[in-house]
Symmetry: C2
Subunit: 469 residues, 2 copies
């Protein structure tokens, strides 16, 4: 029993595609890099623009300040059609983006979006944030726009929360959720910041890794030293840091922090069977980025490595002279950015404490360590036996004309955990990204088809949730 | 039997000190950073200015182009007084300087020299290059200027060579020496790029370490990856690089490159005894830079570590996200700048090959390494039984009214080796730097007293070499 307006809504979305793209391009032109204070004004501008768009659709939309970048909160109660008594919804997306360095590896300006055609014929939207997360959040906005344009109303009670600090650890999300718990607690959260299982194969992500990060700065001498005058007599922070980083994994890829695996559960047998049935090839997954050999725990499958096993990765390292040529210096300090993806019941603060203790126990004389914590969220595992999960799965299957899957994701979307723990609200993670979107990398893109069918899928999901969610 | 003009020359130097400082400041204002192509014009300007100064003194001076930064060559045959039949001399210095990063750690502009007063009352010249090597080379120019001003002539046959690429590995020095061997071959080279043994205690450096460097770039995926999507499945170049760097030393500080110590001689017993008699305190030497524990081979004294033992040091490291905040990226590549100080008969190219083989043997699947060689010079040990060494030692002792010492130096001055091997010319290394000059670091300085007494010492050395060198 499909909502009678749905066919016209889907048709409207296809007709309005060019205008929808132009709206997305407008959003992509804001260089809303949340981690770099230089872009504070651009983040604010992006938030204002989004609030304006939602107001224009009839939402009660506000830009809500935080100590960092603002939240955009919009309520569509006035837009809900009479008798919309399905679950109330909170849609979540984020308008901030990752930094763009190294800039010289971009083929075009990262904040000057354009349509490119890939060698295989796919048309893609090319810009920083195209996939993560501006393109994704706009699929939902466009779906709402089409419902309003065709039907004058939405088939569900919809609220929206856009965050501006997802890419910099969401420092103000938890206080904001706590302070506005009643306003934001809905029956289900819809989070659009994940991917399809594969091109043409949509999925609902039901398992997310958590994240805990630390910048480790090792300090030795009180200034940079000449390596001729002091070489080998003076402690070298790069050497100390390298030894510490090297000690974090054994030769089999197992993390050596004491107790690291204590709270890691083995995968339930039925999930393992489901994953084994998925058309996943480690060769293809790695081959696409020029690799061939799964580098993690050697006794695990690649899909386990990225979906259900914890990691300890080095995201950045810096020390001494990094410019052209050589400078024979022994630097006063060196740092590394280290992050662990967490699974099962791993507690981020417990892992953080173990990491710190493990590192500090290895410090040689004359060296000190400075910590800059980052993130801190446990893993999230959804209860996908709820009827709304099945409703959304049917809507996705209808749009792609193939069975949608329940999948895992190696990424961390801490907001899902916060919605559960702070607002008692379960999340459905539905997104249309693809593995080759190059999110966080130069030349990020979002398939035009992800944008088009993503919006159509949301239009269907809103109808389906109203009906049986 | 002192040269009759010497007392007047020394007096003239003291009277002319302020003008001499102003000339040095002029030279210090050129940001002649040779390793960075952005400063090519400034290097050229510094060379032109030096040639002009020397022409003004009566030298036959030329700026001589190379494929990199120019050499300044000046001959003072017309300035030599009649009967100047002591050894002919080639004075060497370099007009290029180290980069200035991190700029925020400088208290003042690095290329705006000024006189500062230290807490202990010493007056110092503060600027990049003040000690390394512009202040030092100008001590010799000022000594010549005073001789010409007072006496109209120099007491010796003096030529001068100023290089512009010493801080970037001297890529054009060997070809230049080879192409101009006859012109530049003199009886003795005077190299002013070293330090005093201690404040108030001058020295002649007779033992120099060599240098071989490599930038090691480890590459894995064909692009930066999201650490959530690929974390632990994809090879992480920072992790691979850290393992490799960590493998280069054992826990006792011994370098693990196979064969590394094969050509390292133990110190002759008489030199060891001489060094033990020197007023050297590892506590003070390290304490001055905030350290306390000699970090090299644990069975060696600190003086051995820096003067007579080889090292493997990490001068820079870079990879992934290094900015503020966090970016959960697995970078496509990471690099380290590694340099080995060489002693005795260690062959730079043999060590380079061993280092490369050692690293390549450790590369895991999916990783490749790219090499960028730097430097390549063996150690130099002088024959200080020659009479000119004793003559210079006497002149230094007279100026400082204390016994000058024959000392070692941890730094590498490859030009001394090249003079020996290519021009069959022995070198005397005499300089007036101090351990706290912060060369290659922010807030580099040169003691005003080093500049003043350095010039006076050269004036004395020229006279003494004419007499008995």
């Amino acid at each position: 029993m499909t909502h009678p307006a749905l066919p016209a809504v889907l048709e409207r979305l296809d007709q309005d595609l060019d205008a929808g793209l132009e709206r997305l391009f407008h959003l992509l032109r804001f260089p809303s890099i949340s981690t770099d204070p230089a872009y504070k004004g651009d983040c604010a501008a992006a938030a204002e623009w989004l609030a304006g768009e939602l107001s224009g659709l009839g939402f009660d939309a506000q830009v809500r300040p935080t100590p960092g970048h603002a939240m955009v909160v919009a309520h569509g109660d006035a837009l809900a059609e009479e008798g919309a008594d399905g679950p109330s919804l909170l849609f979540y997306g984020h308008y901030d983006v990752q930094p763009v360095d190294p800039l010289n590896l971009w083929d075009d300006e990262p904040f000057d979006p354009k349509i490119d055609t890939l060698p295989d014929g796919r048309r893609v939207i090319r810009a920083r944030g195209a996939a993560d997360d501006k393109g994704q959040l706009m699929t939902f906005v466009e779906a709402c726009r089409a419902w309003v344009a065709v039907h004058g109303k939405l088939p569900a009670r919809v609220s929206i929360l856009f965050e501006g600090e997802e890419e910099s650890g969401s420092p103000n999300l938890v206080p904001f959720l706590k302070a506005n718990a009643q306003e934001l607690s809905k029956d289900i959260a819809l989070i659009c910041d994940t991917g399809m299982f594969a091109p043409g194969k949509p999925g609902i992500t039901t398992m997310l890794r958590g994240l805990v990060g630390e910048q480790i700065t090792v300090k030795a001498a009180n200034r940079d030293l000449h390596s001729g005058m002091y070489g080998s007599a003076a402690a070298n922070p790069i050497r100390v840091l390298a030894k510490i980083l090297a000690s974090l994994h054994d030769d089999q890829g197992r993390v050596q922090i004491p107790g690291f695996y204590d709270d890691v559960d083995e995968l339930p047998e039925e999930i393992r069977a489901q994953w084994q049935a998925l058309p996943f090839s480690a060769q293809e997954f790695l081959g696409e980025v020029g690799l061939s050999h799964p580098a993690g725990e050697q006794d695990r499958s690649a899909l386990e490595m990225i979906w259900s096993r914890p990691t300890c990765e080095f995201n950045g390292i810096s020390g001494g002279y990094e410019g052209e040529g050589f400078k024979t210096v022994i630097p006063a300090q060196a740092f590394a950015k280290v992050s662990c993806r967490l699974v099962s019941r791993q507690d981020p603060e417990k892992i953080r404490a173990s990491l710190r203790a493990f590192v500090e126990a290895q410090l040689p004389p004359d060296c000190t360590v400075e910590w800059h914590p980052h993130g801190g969220a446990g893993a999230t595992v959804m209860d996908f036996s709820k009827p709304s999960f099945e409703a959304a799965r049917e809507a996705l299957s209808a749009e792609w004309e193939t069975e949608a899957a329940f999948i895992g994701s190696g990424g961390s979307i801490p907001v899902a955990g916060h919605f559960q723990s702070l607002l008692d609200m379960p999340s459905m993670l539905i997104g249309f990204g693809l593995d080759d979107d190059r999110i966080h990398s130069p030349n990020e893109k979002y398939d035009l088809e992800s944008f088009r069918k993503g919006a159509r899928a949301w239009a269907r999901i809103l109808a389906k949730l109203a009906e049986k969610g």
